[in-house]
Subunit: 212 residues, 2 copies
Amino acid sequence: MQTTISQYINNLFPQFEPALKQLLAEVATLKTFAAGEMMMETGQYFKSTVLIVEGRAKLYRQGEEGGEFFMYYLEPGNACALSLICATKQETSEVMAKALEDTTVLMIPIGMMDDLMKNYKTWYYFVLETYRTRFQELLEVIDGVTFKGLDERLMFYLTNQYKKLKTRQLSITHQEIATDLNSSREVISRLLKKMEQRGELSLQRNYIEWLK
Amino acid sequence: MQTTISQYINNLFPQFEPALKQLLAEVATLKTFAAGEMMMETGQYFKSTVLIVEGRAKLYRQGEEGGEFFMYYLEPGNACALSLICATKQETSEVMAKALEDTTVLMIPIGMMDDLMKNYKTWYYFVLETYRTRFQELLEVIDGVTFKGLDERLMFYLTNQYKKLKTRQLSITHQEIATDLNSSREVISRLLKKMEQRGELSLQRNYIEWLK
DNA sequence: TTTTAATGGTGACTTAGGTCACATCAACAC
DNA sequence: GTGTTGATGTGACCTAAGTCACCATTAAAA
């Protein structure tokens, strides 16, 4: 009842051409991270390119004085954009990646990158598309921080959670939100309370119901 | 005495393989923008991939309410990362690009991208490297806005100017700086004054001498 | 059941940065 | 010279957000 590499590839990357699927099935290996485990830390070297096939991970930036700042999630079918670029150049990671649930990834040896890129058009499209979406996501992140107040950013954050998790019942603490937004718990609590008073959500312990 | 396309390519992209250089020389066209002219605006379609060969352009993000936020410069030898991604997908630009000096660019029809990417290894490396550095630059930008105060960001901005322009004499107004940092003129003036008092720079009209 | 630790609420205070209203001041046209 | 224009200086004030101190509630561990 365990999913094989081929099955993962067929389900999550149907657009890959048959020869590419077969090649990946041969050279890729699976690796599993427990919920909460760090998948990548700043300064670490990439040994392989990573495709998420199960679970969910969050990518965030860490400031010098220990602050954190959430960038985006990686979900099944996503590649870690940085592992695509940095792997080929023996660069180190610029971000932290943490498994939010038990997460399984497909690891492709970095030596394969050149070959894949040159010989498999669907791979090359996949890589470009990955960059494009991540770049765009970073731009949105920048917009948020530069042009919007914390209230709007919080709203955006919650909407995003709802969209990604497909449930209005979010199991999350105020502290977690504060950390992701690089703010402080009290401020987030106050803003949430205001939103509750406006009828936009309902607050319980460890739990927020999004009503919009 | 006009520089030819071949000369530009040889000078600025020596790493390209001979066949690639020759191909580009055949298909690329030159376009010139006057200082101050907009090269790309948010929402516009990409008709070609753009390589800068002369001059200097700045890329910035525009907020909904008209705010601006500087991202990075494009200089001779650089490609516009977005034109590399978006061109292939018929996407529209997410950023504004403005020529700071008279700027000449090499335009490569987007139809070529697939071919270039698949058949010219040095092109493919160039594209990846472009992404990598721009992605990194965006990460730095994010760090600045989230983890640092305006004083540090201003310092970083000036250092950057100095490095890029290779002169400590910066012809720039307080207003321009404020716009780039999405701040206000008064605040920048005050911070500059403090830096002057600390002996880090000297202020004149339309002109800042960076002493560090 | 008692203890402990995590979570959330709240008021008081501080601070960075934005805004407003003017006052200067240098440069250049005339 | 004189006037005009854009660049800069400055004080008063406002606001979002961070910080601190402390308490109440709940859940989980012992």
